[in-house]
Amino acid sequence: MENNLIPWIIALPFASAIAIGLSGRFSTHDKLDEEGIRKHRGMIHTLAVGSVGLSFLIAVKLFIELHNPDLPARVLTSHVFDWFDITIPSASGFRDVPIAASFVLDSLSGLMTLVVTGIGTLIHLYATGYMEDEESYARFFCYLNLFTASMLILVLGSNFPLMFVGWEGVGLCSYLLIGFWYETPEYAAAGRKAFVANRIGDLGVLVGMFALVSVAGSFEFSEINRAASMMNGEFTMGGVALGTTATVACLFLFLGCTGKSAQVPLFVWLPDAMAGPTPVSALIHAATMVTAGVYLCCRLSPIFLESPTAMTVIGVVGSITALMAASIAVVQREMKRILAYSTVSQLGFMFAGVGVGAFSAGFFHVFTHAFFKACLFLGAGSVMHAVHAHGDADIFKLGGMKKYTPITRATFLLSTAAIAGFPLTAGFFSKDELLLGATTIAMNETALPSWLGWLVAISLFLAATMTAFYMFRLYYLTFTGDYRSADHGHDAHGEEGHDEDAHHDDDHHDHAYDAHPHESSWQMWVPLAVLAFGAIAVGFLGLPHAFHLPNWWGHWMDASISHLPGFGPDDEVTNMTPVYIAMTLGVAAWAIGMGLATVLYREKNEDTFTPKFPKPVFNFLFDKWRVDEAYEATIIGGNRGLAKFAGRIDKSFVDTVFTGIPAFVVKMASWLFTRIQVGAVHAYGAVLLVGVLGLGWWFMYPHPTLDVQTSTDSAEITAAPGLGYTYRFDMDDDGNFDFPQAPQALEIDFEDDASRMQIQRVVARVRAAIAPVRWPNDRSALGHLKDRNRRIYELHPPTSEIADLQRILQNVDGVEAIHWHAAGHERVFGDAGNAAFDYNEEDFVGYMLTVAQADGSEQEMRVLPELTIIPDSFFPRVQFEGSPPRVGFDENGRIKIFPTATVNDAGEPATRPDSVLVGGVRQDEPFLLGLGSFATVAQYRMEVFPIVRARVEVRNAFGNTASEEIEIVLKESAPERVALGGEVRR
């Protein structure tokens, strides 16, 4: 159903971003006094929060509309305008596929929109408090609003290109916001890193998109999903079959997801992204943008389900990510860093879920995660704000914060419980669903292998245990115990005991924090409270349906997300074992992790556990498995070397050859061209006159072009039409016009018009059984391959052959010379024929002989290599003893063959008896070679084709004439019907 409100959801934050951006430009702070700045900021945050809030309200309204029973499909669409057409190849040639700017709000994108706008509103509100001391206030909110708008385009776009606009948009905003404090080089570097990692992934999205579109023939998600069953065909790229379309597309799309959603191996950017302001971390790098990958998988769930291979890859990668990130988080010491790795780990959970086909569960985790992770980040931000930590806060310099920041502490605790999987919190339910998906796959017969299910289940259990552990570690160390920065006097750095191996970055913890922390303002704690409530409550939307509890989530998502057969929200669960296993694993993970953390860290002021890890292990974990170093050593290092090399090439070679020289040439040409522009009006007039004369020439002289189409029994000769043209045709090359008053097209029937055509002269072609060359493999004495790609050969005409031919043909009375030229190239190469010429296999017709006769006339012969016979050695020459057979012309210019009758010294016939054959019969007497018939003279096959020369003379209204000649080689079947001087011989 059309709904015009949808675009407004996007337009509001977008407009606000523009307004704020412009206001920032036009009222820089140095022009304003205190009061002005205050007013300006008031304007900015009213706009920023208001626009997103309004979007949220619209989203809520539309979401309620989705429940309308008249909308069974639960889809609202909005077509805004036709964007552009793109031409794509399809089975039936090229076709235009329209791409519209249209949006769709269904159960999937509806929920995501609620998350983006709802949590977005809270974070915008929070940011007004958090960023209150920031100078680039306008810039921040401009970016943040722009991000929201882009994210909404990503979510609501109904087709791939539009989604990609959002996809790139959020990437850009993320880059801008990570590097928000770009004065600090590391922060700017973090932004760049994020951008590069994302760009690698984006390439995957594009490839995946075109793979899908090439089959579905549409960019619309709905169309692509409808075409899911067609995705099982082979997908070839450059002639190489890569697998089914679904597999190829899904793997490439997943590459995009690993970038955007920080999966192994492209996850490295996300922890560094914490360089940005905390609200950014909360909004972009925890709640919304990073889940775009999961969203994309859910959006295209029918396609992914077509490819078990891709699903397996996704499940494995997700599991590895979950485990790896969780293990890194265990030893980290900065609040946002721990949360960042936790995010990566949780994203791994989601993808592991997707990999086992639990799309709905995966997306449920996206939903719940958005609440508690946003709350955690904001809580961390609140703590940092309280102690005036810039960038990040070291938990070993905090402690006891519950005294100073009670509200933050309460919300943080609730969220920690949720993420750790405390029973009946949101995280508990969503993790349980994921585990359930895994165990179900493990223990049921499906398209997906059961080992995948076990792998996912076990790694998720381990990762969840670690999650509970490091989250409570974080909570205890931050909020319980004593505030370790209370005393300014001593060096906090040395106090901490455990960081003997302080080779890691310690920019931020070589000084203590503010001694007197304070609770944050209402703008900051209200969002915390709301989010914490969500972290506890939203889990109840997805109660496990195996126990016949109302599972609103599953039903709701069923409209947009596909599932494996038998896995629907309404399907009765027959085998309860997986359910219990999942439940047990979930609760156990929470209990073990939280219990361990409680024992080790509750009210403690130092970490007595992780430093006891063997040092290599600790360092390995602390340095996030040294992935960055590995990249540095391999890809980046290699790249850098390559770049240096390329740079040198670029400077020395490309800059001169490809840039410098053309630029110089063009400049010279420009100088030359403008010399005619001498400034005097007479010169201008003269050039104008030249143009007029040129046009005059064109219009006053006819331009005939002849076109001929032959078939077996007729030929149609057409001259180009022109105003006032009259035509005369000469069909026999005798200079008289046979058709003096002709129309522009002349059809000749060979049979009926034979007499009228009066073909009297025929150009003979001799096809000789020479050059039994196997092109292109032979690199014979004949020549060599000159250009492999274009298959051009440098061909030396066989000298011995020429000698033979010369011997035969020079016996023709009055022949003075034989000129060779390659037929396709019309290049004469002399009597001896030694010169080389380019041989292009495709258009090679044969050698052409021009036989110049004593009377000055020329006869043409064409010698075609016989390609069918391949003797052992090249050119087995017939040794002629005495005089060879002769080929000549009779008085009418017809081919006449004289098998010789001379005898040798021994009195035997001088020529080999079978050297002249017609139809396998040896000929002894001179005979005429008829049209269409052939004779074998020595190793030469001689054949006669009639070539008709037609000439048209065009006369236009001005009385000017021009003529054009065309040569028609009559087809093989035609000759016998055409009279040659009344004689036809077979």
């Binding site: 430009r25 305008f81 036709d82 964007w83 552009f84 630029a663 063009v666 400049k667 040409a669 420009s670 100088w671 061209f673 403008t674 005619i676 522009q677 400034g679 009006v681 010169a683 201008y684 007039g685 050039v687 104008l688 030249v690 143009g691 007029v692 040129g694 046009l695 005059g696 064109w698 219009f699 006053m700 006819p702 331009h703 005939p704 072009t705 001259a719 180009a720 039409p721 022109g722 105003l723 006032g724 043209y725 065009v954 236009n956 209204a957 001005f958």
Partner: protein, 492 residues
Amino acid sequence: MNDWLFVAPLLILGLGSILMMLVDAFAKEKSELAILSSITMGVAGMISASALLSGAEAADAPEMVTRFLAVDPAALFFDVVICFGGALSALLAGGYLREHGLERGEFYVLLTLTTLGAVVLGRSTDMLSLFVGLETMSLGVYAMVAFRRGSSTAIEGAVKYFLLGSFAAAILLFGSALMYAATGSTSFTGIAAAMGDADPKLVLIGLLLIIAGFGFKVSAVPFHMWTPDAYEGAITPATAFMSVAVKSAAFAVFVRILFVTFGDELSMSLASGWPPVLAGLAALTMVYGNIAAVGQENVKRMLAYSSIAHAGYILVGIVAAFRVGSEAVSAVLFYLLAYTFSNILAFGSLILLGSRGREAVSFNDLRGVGRRHPMAALPFILGTLSLMGFPPTAGFLAKYYVFSAAVQAGGSMILLAILGMLTSAIGAFYYLRVTVFMFMRDPEPGQVKAIPMKSGYVVGALAISSLFVLGLGVMPGDVLEAASRAASLLLG
């Protein structure tokens, strides 16, 4: 009543110019003629635009009018292009003339009447109205070029333009006379109807002379020689006007005459018709215009050569139409609209970047101005990007449509399209040079630094043009639809 709508733009332009003359003569205070003329032309364009977009049709406009002036959608489309070009030029003049001490009311009267002539020319369906419209337009433009009468370059450009222009007009006129001799009719349709029995000699000579005449007006090589001099010599708003409205009007009637009068099979044949000729002219024009623009040091002159190059691209579209039909013509219409706004942006920015005594004319004047005044440099970049054909600007789509029409036409037209793309690549060289000079070069010591003028008019014109350049680039839908409707009705 509805029928009046179709001649309303003409009436408004005529009455508006009379009003302006009266205001200029009798108003004591400095009057805002710029805004008055801009509104006059803007309203005229708006009326045509609304008639065009509403899809209204002149049910039975009086024969007296339709014999001379077309009332079809194509005519309305060209009205829009010409009037908007005129209105924006008036705004540019409003800033420029005042800043440079040339504020005289005649300019706006000339501008409005010239626009009237251009509209008549663009709409004409008869050799008579063609000639009258052409001369009205040309005489006005000659005067506008010479408007800064104390300047030797202005007078020089005007003299050359005038002499050659009159010469070309005489050639064109002789061509139409011969068409009359051949067919006994002067209306486009009348000539076309009688062409079958006409003496081919006269038709061919007529066609040749008409093509030469229009080649001059649209500045196709080798009839282009006046263009750089006239563009350089004229005051910048006049240059802007010439490059958009005058050129559009010439193309409008050229397209109409080619397809209405010479649209039959024989006139379009490859052996003796106009498509090969225009293809040749297009190739020459693209190559010459682009290459010659590279070596220019004067930005106006560079833009003059660039406008020659664009004439080449448009000619490609026209030639493509002989095979592809309305699709190519609609591409041409869209191109003209896109080109109008892009060029106004370029010339307008040039105006904006200078002020009295510090006029920006050459590339050297642009040195560093982008870093000193980024907001003023922005429209220039947008304009050059669009002229270069960079997505998502209007210029990109325009080029895309024209070249894709050429590719669809197939045969040797593909070569023409390839040539067009190659020469566009050369175009990037000199368009980007603007940006390079504005942002990456520092002024030489002792060089006068250009300082942007402060003029609401110019800023307004630039804002409107930017909006259109981006709007047409992103949402060309409605305009394209109107263009293709206009094109298909034009081709009948």
